[in-house]
């Protein structure tokens, strides 16, 4: 079945000479990965075929269905693809749709030179998340954060970013799931807003209920990192859609093509992002929140000032 999924996308067949061969390796055949591919394809369509693009599922890649040396550059989409490709490939790899922390650990294993292995993170920069807090809740400047195994390296950058934004930040470390609620209660002594940073131990389907309920009952809004959490009951989130990530990746590749180079820039945070607010929750907490477009403008303006 997966063979049928090995779509071969070709652009500008007539301009074979000078074309860069790009292989997209997908973690998943549907969902976010296919949205990324669609966005990239859309972006390339107007560019008169600088690339020859093929896409393949990660499992087919690891099964050796393609020869990686026949390609000039691999775009690994998602963490599964990143894990497969980082072991195998000897060509430059751009990882997209991957959390920063996962990229960094895969970077340690990859044998590539620094300009041959890079990423567009899925995470938003901490400063952007703090900007959202400032824009949405200008009167709340005591931020509480739970850090777990996957996010504990954020402590120093977080304190740094909070200092720059003139926000107070209190942090509680969580090692097991049982620590979450007691840690949350300690945070709520001072915190006026809770910032969620992705960490599967802390924020997952089974903990979402207790986290959202406990913070809601304490009248502490949760600022999240995904649209799903906003639907679930977080107050707001800043995040990038797969389409936005795809667009950024396509633009990056086009710049490489224009510069006629395969040397990748350093890992970067998402350039395009969205803001989503749960106005029902805002109303229930007695918070008047500006509309999403205005918040987005404020965050962009705030980020540019830095």
């Amino acid at each position: 079945m997966q063979a049928t999924l090995a779509l071969v996308l070709c652009w500008g067949m007539g301009m074979a000479y000078g074309q860069t061969q790009i292989l997209l390796v997908l973690s998943d055949s549907g969902g976010a990965c296919s949205e990324v591919v669609a966005a990239m394809r859309g972006h390339f369509a107007g560019q008169n075929g600088a690339f020859e693009v093929r896409s393949i599922h990660a499992s087919e890649f690891s099964a050796g269905r393609v020869d990686p040396t026949e390609t000039d550059l691999i775009v690994a989409i998602g963490t599964d693809a990143m894990e497969q490709v980082s072991v195998e490939a000897r060509v430059p790899v751009l990882n997209i749709l991957v959390p920063r922390q996962r990229y960094e650990s895969s970077r340690l294993r990859a044998k590539h030179d620094s300009r041959q292995y890079s990423a567009i993170y899925l995470d938003q920069p901490l400063s952007r998340q703090l900007q959202l807090i400032k824009a949405a809740l200008p009167k709340r400047d005591a931020v509480g954060v739970l850090l777990g195994p996957a996010s504990q390296d954020r402590l120093k950058p977080l304190q740094q970013a909070a200092r720059e934004q003139k926000l107070g930040v209190s942090v509680e470390q969580v090692i097991t799931e049982e620590d979450i609620l007691p840690a949350l209660k300690r945070l709520f002594v001072n915190a006026e807003v809770l910032l969620a940073l992705p960490d599967p131990l802390i924020f997952n389907k089974s903990t979402a209920q207790s986290l959202l309920l406990t913070s809601y009952r304490a009248q502490i809004p949760l600022i999240a990192y995904s649209k799903s959490y906003v639907s679930a009951g977080a107050l707001a989130a800043v995040y990038s859609t797969p389409t936005q990530i795809g667009q950024q990746a396509a633009e990056l590749l086009l710049r490489l093509a224009q510069a006629k180079t395969l040397l990748l820039p350093p890992p970067q945070y998402p350039k395009y992002f969205s803001v989503n607010v749960n106005y029902q929750v805002a109303r229930s907490l007695g918070l008047a929140i500006e509309d999403e477009a205005a918040l987005l403008q404020r965050i962009k303006a705030g980020t540019e000032r830095e």
Binding site: R102, L212, V281, G286
Partner: protein
């Protein structure tokens, strides 16, 4: 019937038990350890769906007072009913040490005319329309908040949501993992204890609470109480969309009854049982889109027996007579509810329910048969925002019951947000109150042994009104609500005019040489007035104020006595204030003030002068290692004694201490 009732109860328990044990096997989902794009794009179950979100007071379609945990704690109140002293216009009193009255106008012992829901379970008894406040299997510690609607809202809550709705919401078990132990003690003979454990078992989040309560009540009354209860709740997440909630509780109590000066109702004990089981299935499609099915069963019983003291009445020697009063009632209720957003500006909630009430009360109804009453309902409520500043709330409930037939209760409210923090709301609603079984079919007679001539004499005391019309109310209100988030201040003032028709009153019959009552649709009453409440929260200090002025106009009455009874049942002023402050050192101090102007409650009540009451509480938080504890001292009514409901209920200063530990 009582055996039949118990069998049902057992059956429900077994069913619940079966579900618990079979679904436990499903277990918890494996925890994903490595971060991936799934953390960003994966679905998360909707936790704060529309039914879980609190509606801000300024958005509600009616006047609402929210009592939160902080207020319950700082008030120092020990009885749940007392908490409603903080609600504008609500009259709270102890008919006896073990029987409380909570009403919002036409204050009387039995028919509170207020709907009381405990997590969606309607707890008033079909027989008296009374709420067994002392026998509710519920610990104050398990309450998350209480939402009180001060006025009718039958369009949402059905008949009997007449002069108010009390919605008690308990805590989600996930909020209280671990154990709690609390003890309370004071003179005379006040001794309470609560133990709770919350945890996770398989996929279930659960809470189990047991409690004990005892005291000697008022000095001049035989009203001791000795209450034991157990209650539990389990929440199970079936999958991302579906959750199951199971709740059950049981109270077994002994309540002192009777009067020291009575020859017939001599001091004795009543054995009381109260229990409920509830199953609630919730399916959430999205923040505004959910479906729920609920089934519950409640059961209440009271058993008492006395042997009367021989006495002489009008020259006739009345001999010692053995009298007993057995009361059993139960309710089965099934409800379907659907919340939907039809467009960005319009959301609706609609549904249907079916209820069966069964009552057996040989003494009060003069029959050993079980009375069965059925009730069917269909309801629809909508919230429409035609513009950013406007909210229109409207709805209706159609009901059919065996006692009074078919009725419709509509409601409409219009809110205008003039400026941030300033809201004006106007509303009109209609509601009905179905006569209780006692009002409709009561037939209370006492058969006493007589010496000369030897034999028995049957004395009728009161009779139901067979074929009574339901009471109806049309309530109009105009409110102004102010809210300042920056200053933590909110206040609202409500002008209201409630017109009640066909008020059901026990009317004494002319020509009978003693008090013989018959229930009649005996008066039309208009109540109008102003209610004000204010809240202020500034850091460690919290203040809550309430005041209600009510003017009662009797439009027409069966006779002047009825008019006078109703007129005097409403105090013109009721007020409260509660202020608390948390000092940095873990000390929390609070003072409560409560006042009720002169009145005469209906139904075994007596004329009461205006009273003022001051309560104070001092608490200290401490830590022993990782454990958290609190000691508190509460003093109720610091100054001169006053009377509650009757002049033999003298409320003197009371002092008690509490110690609680969380671990």
């Amino acid at each position: 019937m009582s055996r039949k009732i118990r069998q049902h109860t057992l059956l429900v328990c077994l069913c619940v038990g079966g579900i618990v044990s079979s679904t436990c096997m499903a277990g918890a989902e494996p925890v994903q350890v490595a971060l991936s794009e799934q953390d960003f794009f994966g679905e998360v179950p909707v936790v704060l769906s529309v039914s879980r979100l609190m509606q801000p007071v300024s958005e509600a379609p009616a006047a609402v007072t929210v009592i939160d945990r902080d207020m319950i704690r700082t008030s120092g109140f020990r009885d749940l009913a007392d908490v409603f002293r903080l609600v504008p216009g609500f009259y709270v009193a102890h008919f006896s040490g073990n029987e409380q009255v909570v009403s919002n106008g036409l204050n009387n012992r039995y028919f509170g005319r207020v709907q009381v829901l405990l997590d969606g379970v309607s707890v008033y008894t079909p027989m008296f329309g009374q709420v067994p406040w002392s026998a509710l299997p519920l610990a104050l510690e398990d309450i998350e908040r209480i939402e009180v609607t001060r006025g009718p809202n039958a369009a949402s809550y059905g008949a009997n949501s007449f002069l108010g709705i009390i919605n008690i919401i308990t805590r989600d078990p996930i909020q209280d993992r671990g154990s709690l132990l609390a003890v309370r003690g004071g003179a005379p003979a006040l001794a309470d204890a609560v133990a709770r454990h919350g945890g996770k078992l398989g996929g279930w989040d659960y809470r189990l609470t047991i409690g004990h309560k005892q005291d000697h009540g008022f000095e001049l009354r035989n009203d001791r109480q000795r209450t034991d209860f157990i209650s539990g709740r389990g929440d199970y997440r079936i999958d991302e969309k579906n959750t199951l909630q199971v709740q059950a509780g049981y109270t077994g109590a002994v309540f002192g009854r009777g009067y020291f000066d009575s020859n017939i109702d001599v001091p004795h004990d009543q054995q009381v049982q109260s229990s409920y089981q509830q199953l609630h299935w919730h399916r959430v499609y999205g923040p505004d889109d959910e479906l729920s099915l609920q089934f519950y069963h409640t059961y209440n019983s009271g058993h008492e027996a006395v042997t009367s003291t021989p006495y002489v009445s009008s020259g006739i020697p009345i001999l010692a007579t053995f009298l007993r009063n057995d009361l059993d009632s139960e309710r089965f209720d099934f409800e379907f509810q659907r919340n939907q957003r039809l467009s960005p500006a319009l959301r609706v909630v609609w549904g249907a329910s079916s209820r069966l009430d069964r009552v057996r009360a040989p003494l009060y109804l003069n029959t050993i048969a079980t009375q069965t009453t059925k009730l069917q309902r269909v309801f629809l409520n909508g919230e429409w925002r035609p513009a950013a500043n406007w909210v229109v709330n409207g709805g209706a409930m159609w009901e059919h019951n065996d006692i009074t037939g078919t009725d419709l209760s509509p409601r409409l409210a219009l809110s205008y947000h003039m400026a941030p923090g300033h809201t004006v709301r106007g509303g009109i609603s209609r509601a009905l109150r179905t006569p209780t079984v006692l009002e409709d079919s009561g037939d209370y007679n006492l058969t006493l042994n007589v010496g000369i001539p030897p034999g028995t004499a049957t004395i009728p005391y009161f009779k139901g009104g067979h074929g009574l019309r339901p009471e109806s109310i049309v309530s109009r209100e105009l409110s102004y609500l102010f809210e300042s988030n920056t200053h933590g201040f909110s206040a609202d003032t409500r002008l209201f005019v409630d017109r009640i028709q066909d008020t059901i009153v026990p009317v004494s019959t002319a020509g009978v040489p003693y008090d013989y009552y018959r229930y009649r649709n005996a008066a039309d009453v208009t109540m109008k007035g102003v209610q004000t409440q204010a809240r202020w929260r500034a850091g460690a200090t919290q203040l809550s104020l309430s005041h209600a002025y009510t003017k009662t106009v009797i439009e027409s009455a069966y006779n002047p006595d009825v008019a006078e009874d109703l007129q005097k049942s409403n105090p013109s002023h009721i007020g409260s204030a509660l202020v608390s402050h948390r000092f940095g050192s873990g000390i929390e101090a609070s003072v409560g003030y409560y006042q009720v102007s002169e009145m005469h409650p209906i139904g075994d009540g007596q004329f009461l002068k205006h009273y003022r009451r001051w309560d104070a509480r001092l608490a200290y938080d401490f830590r022993v290692g990782a454990q958290h504890g609190q000691v508190a001292l509460v003093m109720q009514n610091l100054f001169a004694p006053y009377y509650e409901f009757r002049r033999d209920n003298e409320f003197k200063s009371r002092t008690f201490g509490t110690l609680s530990l969380e671990f």
